[in-house]
Symmetry: C2
Subunit: 414 residues, 2 copies
Amino acid sequence: MSALPPGITLPKGFRAEGLSSGIKRSLRPDLALWTSDRPAVAAGLFTTNRVKAAPVELSAERLRDAPDQARAVVVVSGVANALTGPVGRQDSLDVMDATARALGIPPSYVLHAATGIIGPRIPVAKVLDALPRAVAGLSTGYEAGHRAAQAILTTDTVTKEAGATAHLADGTRVRVGGMAKGSGMIAPAMGPLHATTLAFLTTDARVSVPGLQQILQQGTDRTFNMVSIDGDTSTNDTLLALANGAAGGPLADDDPAFREAVGSVLEQLARAVARDGEGATKLLTVNVHGAQDIAEARRAARAVASSLLVKTALFGADPNVGRVAAALGYSGAYFDSGDLAVELVDGRKRWPLIQGGVPAPGLENGEGKRLHTVLQRLEEVVLEIGLGQGPARATAWGCDLSYAYVHINAQYHT
Amino acid sequence: MSALPPGITLPKGFRAEGLSSGIKRSLRPDLALWTSDRPAVAAGLFTTNRVKAAPVELSAERLRDAPDQARAVVVVSGVANALTGPVGRQDSLDVMDATARALGIPPSYVLHAATGIIGPRIPVAKVLDALPRAVAGLSTGYEAGHRAAQAILTTDTVTKEAGATAHLADGTRVRVGGMAKGSGMIAPAMGPLHATTLAFLTTDARVSVPGLQQILQQGTDRTFNMVSIDGDTSTNDTLLALANGAAGGPLADDDPAFREAVGSVLEQLARAVARDGEGATKLLTVNVHGAQDIAEARRAARAVASSLLVKTALFGADPNVGRVAAALGYSGAYFDSGDLAVELVDGRKRWPLIQGGVPAPGLENGEGKRLHTVLQRLEEVVLEIGLGQGPARATAWGCDLSYAYVHINAQYHT
């Protein structure tokens, strides 16, 4: 596996387009479309929120009904189409049906997602007007994928795109592409079917339906489900993967190189989502080792990455080790206070923060001031945490909490 | 039961004092002492955080060893004495022993709590120097209780004091007093032994050890455990109750008037803590009815009161009903989207926000603007939420999330 240049999101047989349909008053892109030139195997993970947006329910239904016939994904941004009742469901069905008609494929081959404000309906007429333009613009290559990646954004400041290639055991070269959206209302996993943002993966590998679902779930558990921005779980979280087999070759279900490529794309996207957290100025990477098992390692890492007090301390470049210890303490992970070790990783240098369960020497005085300066400089802050219990490790990603987060989310929305 | 004027925190037989020992560089009060003139029955609730401050461990041990012999509570603010290892434990023992000596009572009769920065040690010499002054100043009445209530504060902007009286079935008049501290690092219950702040209750009623523990637990479950500011659970949460029996009369364990008085004091204090959340400009009260059972009602109410997106919307006076629905959706409480009803209570007027699972008519237009104005005006925002499932109800308290919250918590602390 080797990483490809950013933006290479469309493997063989996939095309995309993104444009403005007028949902967003700003006239920024708000309608994205992906297609596969042949039926693709599809897998999906959706929000566990009890209030599910109509597109979430409809995509989940279609994955159950025709998981090996996916041909298109249509996404709108600006409105979530959640809390819209039966009329909202019909609005999404109208968008999906129109997409199918414009592409000349059966309606059941179309998947759908949405993101934006909860409550308002999709302006269906505008979307229907724009769909023929989207279909006409469908194209391969970097620019088309990038336009689609732009059209799924809301409060994001940058697109999130990633790609990877893998050589299967028999030498077949397959590609994996992905794009994601997410910078607020993002929370850790709440269950086996919980994804945390919008993300779309495409691959030209040949994979079975259960194989793709399992690869997606496993990869998501250690990537998107380890990202936390603000602890709120959306009504619209959707992660879809399409595998169209255009690269040929053997079934890639159990091929380690393929799994690694999918994992790499998911991790690149998850880190990009954390880094672009609403108002964020720093990426926070929390590595936990020495946990009793992987579930505890994840719990501990997520608790630190999600703690508001750690996030605000990070924004202030305050080496407030007590807040890290407190977050570990309420995470539910087992450890003995006296075994706790925390380091700040700064390139090759490691700054001890907690050793043997107490703050590192000098932290309240000169050493603390030096660390303050280091934290001010770092754009990615990496914490290495040892629980001293067992062999399990995990990584979580987050960001700092700034004035801008409050500003973005306190705006009167209408 | 009738409410007493604020500040009446010291029932018969209790004295208090609060002063500056020099722990806080600002020379604000940082040492509080309460005593009972006779051995009191004591009960306590402590943080469930795995990283427990030394005072938490020591008070829990003393409650196990001598639950009917409490004579004094000594509290320091400014340092948490958490993450301090064995030397921290010895520091707290030294403070407790010195308190006992100064009062002429056995060391096992002294309870202890601390709040402040995690990591640094208690400056024991300063505290020991100040203790004789604290003992000399011990007094009954409003001013003494108020000085103690001031000395337990950290980032709080106001003291939290409450009192109530009750007439037992036989006519005996008993009093309940309480004071609390807390405005950050406050989270909902994480277990049966979880308290969420520092709070100290005193009563001159006669109660049994198990009776007092049970009354305290039940009252806390529906008051302090329903307050959320930022979701972080402290290493130092401590709630202590002392009942010295000075009022005489029968055992009050099962007396409804006494339970009501304790509940009233706890609720007054819990609301005061929520209202004084770090940087808060508004108190948020979330009433949930129609839940299947009380656990689900509490889960739903707490999810809304704890949601960062609800809190920031509140700060912006944004009637963002989608965020309320989303929080209910991930709370884990069962309901059907289509049954959901949410109202904003404004004195006698009720503004519909969600009806039958969709936003109330006009909310995206003129009605939304009117609500924006209403929310700007209200200092306490009350949401009335119906889940349409069953008879259970619950109330949670929170506050908005403002720029000031970020400012307070992003300060470099050394």
